[in-house]
């Protein structure tokens, strides 16, 4: 039978997964609000961020309590450090979703821009990375986490492609500059969300292996 501490550690992981589910939904809905010009969905995403923020505070509190009272070691210690870091990244992903939703609110009141396939691919990539990294967290799958790190290059390239497309478009369409800039900001938010997913992948590898691969992720 697991000790009360190990039960609490499982509960901590469940709390992180709950937060991850909310962050995933926020990113997914914010891009939906953007692509489908859905103002109500954008409002929902913005309103939902509070719950994500509260979960970060709760995870902080639980981690601090377990560190102070249980003095964990080895993998137990790494899991708590990993959950602390992951909660920070999830909170930021929530903020990126809010930012995208705010861009959607603006863009929905203006004429649509021409289709920009790079933008949808970027959203898909960021979401795929996020789903994969949460699966890696749950299954303690090192390879899956490493794959997420490698996918970050794709997200970066797609962001650059969106940027270049819109810059070229703006040169000839001065009235569309504001809409284009708003879209560039949204793309940047998706790219940042992909970065956060990469950070979480690094935390997952730290939890599993005890090695820190930050800043020199093997690609």
């Amino acid at each position: 039978m697991p000790s009360h501490f190990h039960q609490e550690l499982e509960e901590l992981k469940i709390l992180v997964l709950h937060m991850a589910a909310l962050a995933e939904r926020a990113i997914q809905r914010s891009t939906q609000a953007l692509f489908e010009r859905d103002a109500d969905l954008a409002i929902e995403v913005i309103g939902g961020d509070k719950e994500i923020n509260l979960l970060e505070i709760e995870i902080d509190r639980q981690c601090l309590r377990l560190l102070a009272l249980e003095q964990p070691l080895a993998k137990d210690l790494r899991v708590i450090i990993g959950c602390l870091r992951t909660a920070v990244d999830l909170e930021r992903i929530g903020d990126e979703a809010v930012n995208i939703a705010q861009r959607a609110q603006f863009l929905n009141t203006r004429p649509p821009l021409p289709p920009n396939p790079g933008m949808e691919q970027l959203a898909d990539t960021a979401l795929d990375m996020f789903k994969s990294v949460i699966a890696a967290f749950v299954n303690e799958n090192e390879q899956q986490a490493l794959d997420v790190c490698r996918m970050d290059d794709t997200a970066d390239e797609l962001n650059v492609r969106v940027l270049k497309n819109l810059l070229a478009y703006m040169v000839n369409e001065v009235p569309a500059i504001e809409r284009s800039v708003q879209t560039i900001i949204a793309a940047r938010c998706l790219e940042r969300a992909a970065d956060q997913a990469t950070n979480i992948a690094e935390s997952v590898i730290f939890m599993i292996k005890g090695v820190n691969i930050k800043h020199h992720c093997q690609r």
Binding site: P72, L73, A74, G210
Partner: protein, 253 residues
């Protein structure tokens, strides 16, 4: 980091009668470093510690195979004088065990046993040892009073001072703080940090946080075997062996 090996166990086996208590232990103790020995009760860590200054010789049915080298000399060599060995490798036990004598005489005891007669020398060494054991300021005004009047934590530091008075090269500590309250424990741990500047220390402890706090290296024993030894930070954050991981995270059994 100083990497000179002060003491080294080489393929050490130890038997209580037919019971094979230690199985092929090879372990280095680095000079001016603290090495913690951890493991569940009965794993052999205290038996191993007692091999390091031949305290197990006192058990008639015991038998030792292999070598323990102190500065490259095998302490189980027949030419080794055990009294001299125990002066070089001092020991502090779990329960403070002061003699029913004055504080001064407790610390002077080892010197007198070794034939030192010079009163000034003895007085100087007693003061120096009590200072090293962080006890001098608390007892300097009652040094000729009975040691039995000291608190448990003070008695343990007195025993450390007694061990230091003969200027050993290595100090073995068998759960030196397990009978003490948290404040006395903290003092002993702080003392260990200070002592390693001058001594090589091996400490057996059941308290993993204590091992983590005081030691440079940690060795994990299980069922008479040395499972893993590593830099303390590494052993407690990313142990290599499953048994170590299970033990230090409390998933044993």
């Amino acid at each position: 980091m100083n990497k000179t090996v002060k003491m080294s166990a080489r393929h050490l086996n130890f038997f209580y009668g037919n019971f094979h208590a230690l199985l092929d232990i090879s372990l280095d103790f680095f000079q001016n470093q603290v090495t913690a020995l951890i493991g569940p009760s009965g794993c052999g860590k205290s038996t191993f510690l007692r091999c390091l200054n031949r305290m197990n010789d006192l058990i008639p049915i015991s038998r030792v195979d292999g070598q323990i080298l102190l500065d490259e000399q095998n302490i189980y060599d027949s030419r080794v004088d055990v009294v001299t060995l125990r002066r070089r490798v001092g020991m502090v036990f779990q329960k403070p065990n002061p003699f029913p004598k004055s504080i001064f005489e407790n610390v002077a005891y080892g010197l007198r046993v070794n034939g030192v007669k010079d009163k000034n020398f003895i007085a100087e060494r007693v003061e120096k040892s009590l200072r090293q054991a962080a006890l001098w300021d608390e007892v300097k005004d009652r040094i000729y009073q009975s040691a039995l009047g000291l608190s448990g934590g003070q008695q343990q530091r007195l025993c450390i001072a007694r061990a230091l008075a003969v200027e050993p090269e290595m100090v073995l500590m068998d759960e030196p703080a397990s009978a003490l309250d948290p404040i006395a424990t903290q003092k002993i741990e702080e003392l260990i940090h200070q002592l390693k500047k001058n001594y090589t220390i091996a400490i057996v402890t059941h308290n993993m946080q204590q091992a983590a706090r005081v030691s440079d290296y940690t060795a994990f024993f299980y069922m008479g075997k040395l499972i893993e030894v590593d830099v303390t930070e590494t052993l407690f954050t990313r142990p290599k062996h499953r048994q170590t991981e299970d033990y230090i995270t409390g998933r044993f059994g």
